[in-house]
């Protein structure tokens, strides 16, 4: 029995699903959280800091939704404000300075849609990350662990490799938003989810992601062990690479997306 696109949406949004902090706890040792964007505030919807992956120091940047209602309110349901993206960029620059690889964990319905977010330049904050990540002089790995909601997700997604959990989704617009534009009816989200091609399999097929991570077990024990091993392999593969070559590869990775689908009018 294969899952429908909307089943994946439900699974990706499930409150029981491991969140960013669960990944941090299970994959890394000695995580030390580093707060604040140095301009305005600390955004609890993005948790970031330094940690050890086996014997290697890494910078970890994770979106966090929280499990309980209280946690979820505190984390703004995983919807980052501009200061969250600015904190992420600050720590990426720090990682570059100290030659630490960056690991991003993405799980958001989207960047927060609020008055303050607009006043403090949500668009600009995301744009800055897209530009700076493209030429960051250290390896970047992004894993979509739950929801990959549009630009708010992509703001941590310009990486050397992008992986997706089997039940994660990645989409340009929420199925509800798409349904209300298409059919003026948000209840047709399930149909919209099919149209949007937002599953990990779709993303792999279109060359948007590099691999799908199977979610074999309910408590993720084996899954986490597998991810850790894969991460170590990623580091081995990218750490020795010349920085200029790494940046060129990253640029080309995004440069080619979609180009094979263009047609010639003349």
């Amino acid at each position: 029995m294969s899952m429908t696109a909307y089943d994946r949406v439900r699974a990706a949004r499930s409150q029981d699903r491991p969140t960013g902090l669960d990944y941090i706890q299970n994959l890394f040792d000695n995580f030390i959280e580093l707060h604040g964007d140095r301009y305005f505030a600390d955004d609890p919807s993005i948790v970031a800091g330094v940690a050890m992956l086996d014997d290697q120091p890494v910078t970890v940047i994770a979106m966090e939704k929280g499990h309980t209602t209280k946690e979820r309110v505190f984390r703004n349901f995983g919807a980052p404000n501009p200061e969250g993206y600015r904190k992420a960029l600050r720590l990426m620059k720090q990682a570059e300075k100290f030659s630490r690889p960056v690991i991003c964990l993405v799980d958001t319905a989207g960047a927060f849609c609020g008055i303050g977010a607009e006043e403090r330049g949500q668009g600009r904050a995301i744009a800055d990350n897209l530009m700076e990540m493209m030429t960051l002089g250290t390896p970047i790995l992004t894993i979509l662990i739950g929801e990959g909601g549009s630009g708010g997700a992509l703001a941590l997604g310009v990486a050397d490799e992008v992986w997706m959990m089997e039940n994660a989704i990645y989409s340009v617009i929420s199925p509800e938003g798409c349904a209300s534009i298409l059919w003026k009816d948000a209840d047709k989200a399930a149909d919209a989810a099919e149209c949007l091609k937002l599953t990990a399999e779709d993303a792999l097929q279109f060359g948007i992601i590099d691999r799908i991570i199977a979610e074999g077990d309910q408590d993720f024990t084996r899954t986490f062990a597998q991810i850790k091993q894969d991460m170590l392999n990623f580091l081995t593969k990218h750490k020795e690479m010349e920085i200029e070559k790494l940046k060129e590869q990253r640029y080309q990775r995004f440069r080619k997306i979609g180009t094979s689908y263009l047609s010639d009018a003349e």
């Binding site: 607009e118 006043e119 949500q122 744009a127 549009s150 617009i173 779709d202 010639d264």
Partner: protein
């Protein structure tokens, strides 16, 4: 054609570069004789509007097609188009998309939602992109992203500054994730152009929102905007539904962004050519050989 007459008359010393409008000028409401202003409610005959850069007496800036903007901006016949052949495809087999593409291509006379090329502004060469509001409100799909990326690569190679006019509802839903990825792709090309010392000036026009705001619209060295333009990341209606609050009166208007420090200046349409021309003249250094 009385509505293009003003293009022949130099308005001042600086305008005497001599410009001839392109033959093909797209007018959305060609059949109407006048337009009613959404700001002041006054009706103005089209011919008078056109003598006034399509601006109402009250200062409201009406929408312009990309070709109209090019004829206002570029010196004489200096604009030569690039990458016109690129068009989007219905890769996802998205409902109604293929039909929509065909009908919009017909009604707008354009292949895609951005026009790219090389031009002279005030005798300074530049790479130019102008997004097209009459093509799915400038939405960014694969072709738009590719055209803008190619333009920045072209400008980097030729050591040209880039001038870009944005108008967009954001990433094009109908091409799914492929559209989203154009945000990263274009940003990468902007960054390379910038690292090479290239100047990039953006003019944000009404409306500039979503994935375009969150990528190349906000990445200019100098960010300008048209008076009254709506500029933002999230749609106002979505924000209202999320926060359950009434939004401030000038929320997401160009004036609001200026006040909050996110744009450099608001430039009325009739001064844009002069301001951009001057800026180009003042940025002679920077480019790496």
């Amino acid at each position: 054609m009385p509505f293009v007459q003003f293009l022949h008359k130099p308005k001042n010393e600086l305008e005497k570069g001599g410009r001839t409008p392109k033959a093909k000028v797209h007018l959305a409401e060609e059949s109407e004789f006048s337009k009613k202003c959404p700001s002041c409610g006054k009706s103005t005959p089209l011919s008078i509007l056109w003598d006034n850069f399509n601006i109402c007496q009250c200062g409201h800036h009406y929408r312009l097609s990309a070709r109209q903007r090019i004829s206002l901006l570029a010196d004489g016949e200096s604009f030569s188009e690039l990458f016109r052949e690129l068009v989007g495809q219905d890769v996802l087999k998205f409902p109604h998309y293929e039909k929509k593409l065909v009908s919009v291509q017909k009604s707008s006379g354009e292949n895609e939602a951005v026009i790219c090329g090389e031009a002279m502004i005030w005798k300074k060469p530049c790479a130019l992109f102008i997004m097209e509001p009459y093509f799915m409100m400038g939405s960014m799909g694969t072709a738009v992203g590719e055209k803008i990326t190619r333009l920045f690569e072209y400008a980097t190679e030729k050591n040209l500054p880039v001038v870009g006019y944005t108008v967009s509802g954001g990433a094009r839903m109908q091409e799914g994730l492929l559209s989203l990825m154009q945000m990263a792709k274009t940003s990468g090309a902007v960054k390379r152009h910038s690292d090479n010392g290239g100047l990039y000036i953006t003019m944000l026009t009404d409306p500039t929102t979503g994935g375009v705001t969150a990528s190349f619209a906000m990445e200019g060295d100098i960010i300008l905007a048209e008076p009254g333009a709506t500029i933002g990341f999230a749609g106002a209606r979505v924000i209202e539904q999320t926060v359950h609050k009434k939004l401030p009166k000038d929320f997401q208007k160009a004036e609001f962004l200026l006040q909050h420090g996110f744009i450099d200046a608001i430039v009325p349409r009739r001064r844009q050519r002069a301001v951009i021309g001057k800026l180009l003249q003042m940025h002679t250094g920077g480019m790496k050989e």
